[in-house]
Point group: C2
Chain length 211, copies 2
DNA sequence: CGCTCATCTTACTCCCGCGTAAGTTGAGTG
DNA sequence: CACTCAACTTACGCGGGAGTAAGATGAGCG
């Protein structure tokens, strides 16, 4: 928990790019563990085994440092999602792959997903927009698939996509926080089946009460 | 946006309980608009047409003030959810009612839902626990219904409930932020149908690939 | 009318954490 | 071996906001 990841021999000088990468890693640890507000620039510097002004030689301020990380991991999520949906043409498989991608994202990279899904800086427009935009792009990718196979309107398809993405995000986060109650792939399969049952053959049961 | 809700004639004295209610209302406005961190006790006091020490005569500190509001609205959500699920014995209706309850919650009471769903203080254990507990209670209510009608295991039922609650929360929030693209009851119906298609007759398609 | 006590105000203190000015160290180069 | 320039340090300024004395004010009551 307080493992200094990588503060090798406080006192070693590093070429600029290496140092920058290391600072980003240290910042990620601290922002993830504490959130934006409780994270102190001093602690980030400490964790990198370096003094504060060094941090300011690489980033103009706390906010920019945070945004750099947010940007990076947002991209990762969208990319994972795109890959998942392009990995097959079978829609049933697509659903599974898509959920898997969400679970992978949540499970990976030092819980960086907390920056994207649980930021405590969403009141700042820049952050809110970034988070929502990421969310929208994921939904849009799924929406395209849905529209291909149904006669549903664009707006409705988008809302369904939003609901599905919300489902994925929520269940993945829950699964992570309760490791052990259900193994990863079982959770993925279960939720994917729920989603697939929900959307497959949608057109066959239009506005009449189904069941 | 800067409507002082209720700063009637700065200078009127109020009996203790009335003042307390008014302070809570003012605090809610500010916390909702700015989030916990950006909210200033001065602004809350101002908005209530009162000076800061008055605030401290009613609440020991900023945190307790916030927690009081969080507690209150968490209860409201769980209660709405319980009512929805008790309002009928038809499970199809239950799903609709449950989603309606979520949308109502999000649409109501000065966007107080932001305290419960979008708190920027979730890094504080007290707040995290309260939010998650609320979430769990909603899921538990739904989980009971699911368990009644399926042979699914408890853990799996719970995970499904989590997914459904996540879907409700996400789509309700999205709908609110994009007022106008879809009318409220259309959105509710759409998402409810997605959920119902997902869970109804679950047992009929067990671990074999459906469709 | 003057006493009392809750309500409310002005005007601070104090801490915390971002960002910076100014100075130090040491690796590579001619 | 002196010179240079980037990498790094210590030590501080400073603003913003939570929380707090200490005093004013006014409604109700005897």
């Amino acid at each position: 928990m307080t493992a200094p990841s990588d503060a090798r021999a406080r006192g070693t000088r590093l070429p600029r790019v290496r140092r920058r990468r290391q600072l980003l890693a240290a910042a990620q640890e601290v922002f993830v563990a504490r959130g934006y507000h409780a994270a102190a620039m001093d602690e980030i510097a400490d964790r990198a085994g370096v003094s504060k002004p060094v941090l300011y030689q690489h980033f103009p301020g706390k906010l920019e440092l945070y945004l750099a990380l947010l940007e990076e991991h947002s991209e990762v999520l969208v990319e994972k999602q795109r890959e998942a949906l392009e990995s097959t043409h079978d829609n049933r498989q697509r659903v599974t792959a898509s959920f898997q991608a969400y679970f992978d994202f949540v499970a990976g990279d030092g819980e960086a997903f907390r920056l994207v899904f649980e930021s405590d800086l969403r009141n700042l427009p820049a952050v809110r927009e970034k988070s929502e935009h990421t969310f929208q792009r994921c939904a849009e990718l799924i929406g395209e698939v849905i529209r291909q196979d149904t006669s549903i309107s664009d707006e409705e398809a988008h809302l369904l996509s939003i609901a599905l993405v919300g489902m994925a995000e929520t269940s993945a986060r829950y699964w992570l926080n309760n490791h052990g109650s259900v193994p990863k792939d079982a959770a993925e399969q279960l939720v994917a089946r729920l989603a697939w049952r929900g959307i497959s053959g949608w057109d066959l049961t239009r506005s009449d009460e189904d069941d």
